[in-house]
Symmetry: C2
Subunit: 190 residues, 2 copies
DNA sequence: ACTCACACCATACGTTTCGGACTATAGTCG
DNA sequence: CGACTATAGTCCGAAACGTATGGTGTGAGT
């Protein structure tokens, strides 16, 4: 029963296991991909590493098939439930992190050709429309397909994507929003 | 002149140096913190590691003070400008990554006490209002305080924060959006 | 003029994460 | 039955993380 530090992914796993009663890492991978994975990105390999780690700390219980694929199935323990409840009850929540390559590129678009920004905007508009559609499909599912809490997050996701799609479309359509390249205020230089 | 892989942070540094003509890592740290850092998070130590790396690849030129703090000042080279231009011209842009601890917690709120979600929502509302205000201050700066491209990104940031603030406020105010805790193996749901 | 305190600036470093390549097992279809 | 595809799981070197920590300039107070 080791002491371990619990990261957001730890709670994600605890929560997901608690919700489904039991889960294999692959189950997690699949279910996370279209729910909570949309606003907490991380490599799927984590879902194979984290549960055994939580099991070692006594927060999950592990059962392993003795045959074939030797799947590992995890269930939450009372300690795990307590840890999850404590996290949920804590008001804080840490700083949110965003990494949007499109926005990054846009930020420096003044250093490129005017056409660059337009092309970027068109691409981003398509991408965000697509994601918006994904969310729409999920939101169209019957009420009992997901817990209310997950549906709420979906609503914010929908809001984000709608704003983003409109933003990039406006940018792609209105040349006035994109100006000519401005050379850096630097005379002597390589 | 080594071959190196260029990451988003590489372009961020190239762009920032190109824009200002020259910069020390600290200059970058300060200017990034209130501009592009808002949608591309990373630890500031990177800004001390990346420029020398780019210099080794011939994309930046380094000058170091011989005295006192021995500050390193970087300027972009023609190769650097070419690399930056190529990146700006490329339509793609990589997958956007989001890590929002608040949204993560909300997603699992059905496993906690009803009060948890309300408390969370209140905290998030305050945090997003604050960030919204930061953006508003930046947006109120005179037109020549930042390039048009950066202003555009600010507008999307403003949009995101407004949506988020409204979302969390609605959640905090309307108990109907938050239901009682639902035990996992329960098929009946509202 | 001195010095003390604080803000500014810079980097080192142990730990964790990244992310993709790779392997293995199960199911399916001709 | 054999070949192909989808499912499921693992590995590992490279890169990023993020904080602790230690210099350096400056100016306020005496």
């Amino acid at each position: 029963m080791e002491e371990i530090a619990l990261t957001p992914v730890s709670y994600l796993v605890l929560g997901e296991v608690a919700r489904h009663g039991s889960a294999t890492p692959y189950d997690l991978k699949v279910s996370v991909a279209q729910s909570v994975g949309n606003f907490w990105s991380f490599p799927h390999a984590q879902l194979y590493k984290e549960p055994p780690r939580l099991a070692a700390a006594g927060l999950l219980r592990e059962e392993r098939e003795e045959t074939g694929r030797r799947r590992r199935t995890f269930r939450i323990t009372d300690d795990g439930r307590r840890a999850l409840a404590a996290w949920l009850a804590a008001g804080d929540s840490g700083r949110t992190e965003l990494r949007d390559p499109g926005l990054l590129k846009l930020a420096f678009s003044d250093l490129g050709q005017p056409g660059d920004a337009v092309r970027l905007a068109r691409g981003q508009a398509v991408a965000h429309r697509a994601q918006l559609e994904v969310y729409r499909q999920l939101a169209a599912l019957p009420a009992d397909a997901m817990p209310w809490s997950l549906r709420r997050t979906l609503e914010l996701g929908l809001g984000y994507e709608r704003i983003a799609a409109e933003f990039w479309e406006r940018l792609a359509a209105d040349p006035g929003l994109i100006r000519a390249a401005a050379p850096p205020p630097d005379p002597a230089d390589a």
